[in-house]
């Protein structure tokens, strides 16, 4: 499959946008039943949008950075008139009355939305096994999970259904599936991409970001969706950064910290990949320092109090009154209870109850209050590390893609998958996962690069060095 950059160049040079769209539709038809990637395919909408891009090119207008590039959207981003489910029965059939800002920005840049992809219900999970509409399968090995929660968006690119997709990352939900599917996945700095129209899970942690099969494509997509949005008061006040132009900047003179806590407990093959990546970066002119940031050990516990606390508040809106499903009851409370009991799956209920408990009278200080203080310590610890280094390197996940059902009975085992990705969300900083080497069953391994807020260009440049060394 052509890269997004190649497609956009070809379309600008006069090739019809329908060529890439038809190829995408054919790839979706070939494997969607087997892999359960798309919950909704917007065949007519995609063709109409492609014709509009062609018309722009014919009129001599700029068709945009992503002219004619097919893209898949995680189904927690609002799309006018197109079902948006969050993979939950509670929103089944609901059609949003407005678009997420990223959806409008993609259209303005000529990208073609192919449809909506499967996720763990309300983005809560690490395997896409929590979807009310069945799990997504990993295209590289369908007996294994694609990761989560953005498993459908990762699988769309890995199965070459679309060259690009968008996911959302609250504790690793882009980077972890990117690692498990052999893709580049980015958690941008908090506020770089508008959250308007992204259905909220944990508002102080959620961030939309790209999946792509190359570093340059990921940079291109992030550049297209970045920038201030007046509709999101947490959006950074500055214009989009220049990213693609810096992809080949290299790492000469950069200080890169190998952080012990970000490889501890990972499988041998994962540790070996990180160590090999460190050697490659050193050979490319970077200085390597070894650091320990003990606070990172507390990330998982802080996250699993903060995220559920915010979720319990955000998900209070699903009460059968204004949107989605309603199950009748004798009075309004009975209706709400019946609706929420039938509409939410087990993991969502677990997190709502955990969050409600952590925020309840008598426990607030011991759990939520304590977690917020740890968050402060985490931010300070990262800031201290970035005095000594320009970026940090570690593993994205402890292992390669795992098999279905292997972690579903024990929530803590599933949560441990996010141990290396969570700290970045707590700190509101930037990180990406880039495929580097393979492990068990020849499955891909992701190396994680982390940086302070607004360091995306630097991280892409380092990722590109690894990509080249890996022969891509």
């Amino acid at each position: 499959m052509k890269t997004a950059q190649q497609i956009a160049n070809d379309v600008r040079a006069g090739e019809s946008a329908l060529v890439a769209v038809e190829a995408s539709l054919a790839a979706i038809k070939a494997r969607n039943e087997e892999l359960n990637v798309f919950l909704y395919v917007d065949e007519d909408g995609a063709r109409t949008a492609a014709e509009a891009v062609d018309a722009k090119v014919r009129r001599g207008e700029d068709p945009g950075l992503l002219a004619g590039v097919p893209i898949a959207l995680k189904d927690n981003m609002c799309t006018t008139g197109i079902p948006t489910t969050c993979s939950s029965k509670i929103l089944e059939g609901w059609k949003p009355p407005y678009n997420a800002t990223v959806v409008d920005m993609l259209a303005a840049q000529g990208a073609i939305s192919m449809g909506k992809t499967n996720l763990d219900e309300f983005a809560m999970g690490s395997s896409t096994e929590n979807s009310a509409f069945g799990p997504t399968r990993n295209p590289l090995d369908p007996t294994r999970v694609p990761g989560g929660s953005s498993g459908g968006s990762a699988a769309a690119v890995a199965a070459e259904m679309t060259p690009l997709s968008l996911g959302s990352d609250t504790g690793g939900s882009i980077r972890q599936p990117a690692a498990l599917c052999g893709l580049v996945g980015v958690k941008p700095t908090y506020g770089l991409v508008s959250r308007y129209g992204l259905i909220a899970f944990a508002s102080s942690l959620d961030q939309i970001g790209p999946f792509a099969s190359t570093v340059t494509d990921a940079a291109l997509l992030l550049e297209a969706i970045s920038g201030h949005d007046p509709m999101d008061s947490t959006s950074l006040p500055e214009p989009a950064p220049s990213l693609v132009a810096h992809v080949n900047d290299g790492v000469a003179g950069k200080r890169i910290a190998l952080v012990r806590e970000l490889v501890e407990g990972a499988d041998d093959a994962v540790v070996a990949s990180v160590n090999r990546a460190v050697e490659v970066l050193k050979d490319a002119g970077a200085t390597i320092v070894e650091l320990s940031i003990p606070e990172l050990h507390l990330g998982l516990s802080a996250y699993y109090l903060i995220a559920p606390a915010e979720a319990s508040s955000n998900l209070a809106r699903y009460d059968g009154v204004r949107f989605g499903n309603r199950i009748d009851g004798d009075d309004v409370t009975a209706m709400m209870e019946a609706t929420r009991t039938a509409g939410f799956g087990a993991e969502v209920k677990r997190r709502i109850m955990l969050g409600t408990y952590a925020l309840s009278a008598g426990y607030f200080d011991a759990y939520y209050g304590q977690a917020l203080k740890v968050r402060t310590r985490m931010i300070e610890a990262f800031a201290a590390a970035y005095q000594q280094a320009d970026m940090i390197i570690g593993a994205t996940t402890p292992s390669v893609a795992f098999t279905f059902g292997s972690k579903t009975n024990d929530p803590m085992a599933m949560y441990l998958n996010d141990v290396f990705t969570i700290p970045t969300n707590l700190a509101g900083e930037a990180a990406l996962s880039v495929p580097f080497g393979t492990g068990e069953a020849d499955l891909p391994i992701g190396v994680q690069l982390l940086g302070p807020g607004r360091s995306e260009a630097r991280l892409f440049a380092a990722a590109r060095v690894l990509e080249i060394a890996d022969g891509r």
Binding site: P96, S301, Y357, Y367, K373, M412, G428
Partner: protein, 100 residues
């Protein structure tokens, strides 16, 4: 701490969250939530005296905008997606009891 929360705690939290649990779910969630809270005890390993809490990564301040009229979403489009609507409003089952 072996039992950080009881079945009664879980039952109470479910009520607050407007969720109904079966007996079997109550047992399972009590065990699972307990395990997560036991893991969370490690937060107490740090001395956090005098540390200010962070609720938001960048210390948000209020964002204000000009008080100008802008087009907004058509109320009819919103109500069309509601489970029940009447006279331009969301309709819900009875909230208070009948008058005596």
């Amino acid at each position: 701490m072996t039992e950080p929360l009881s079945r009664e705690d879980v039952s109470h939290v479910a009520k607050l969250a407007r969720l109904r649990l079966t007996e079997e779910e109550l047992v399972r969630y009590t065990e699972q939530l307990g395990k997560i809270l036991v893991h969370a005890q490690d937060l107490n390993s740090l001395d956090l005296a005098g540390v200010a809490p962070t609720a938001h990564p960048f210390g948000l301040v209020n964002v204000v905008r000009q008080d100008e009229v802008h087009p907004s979403i058509d109320p009819a489009a919103v109500l069309a997606e509601a489970p029940d609507a009447e006279d331009g409003r969301f309709a819900v089952p009875r909230i208070v009891g009948e008058a005596p």
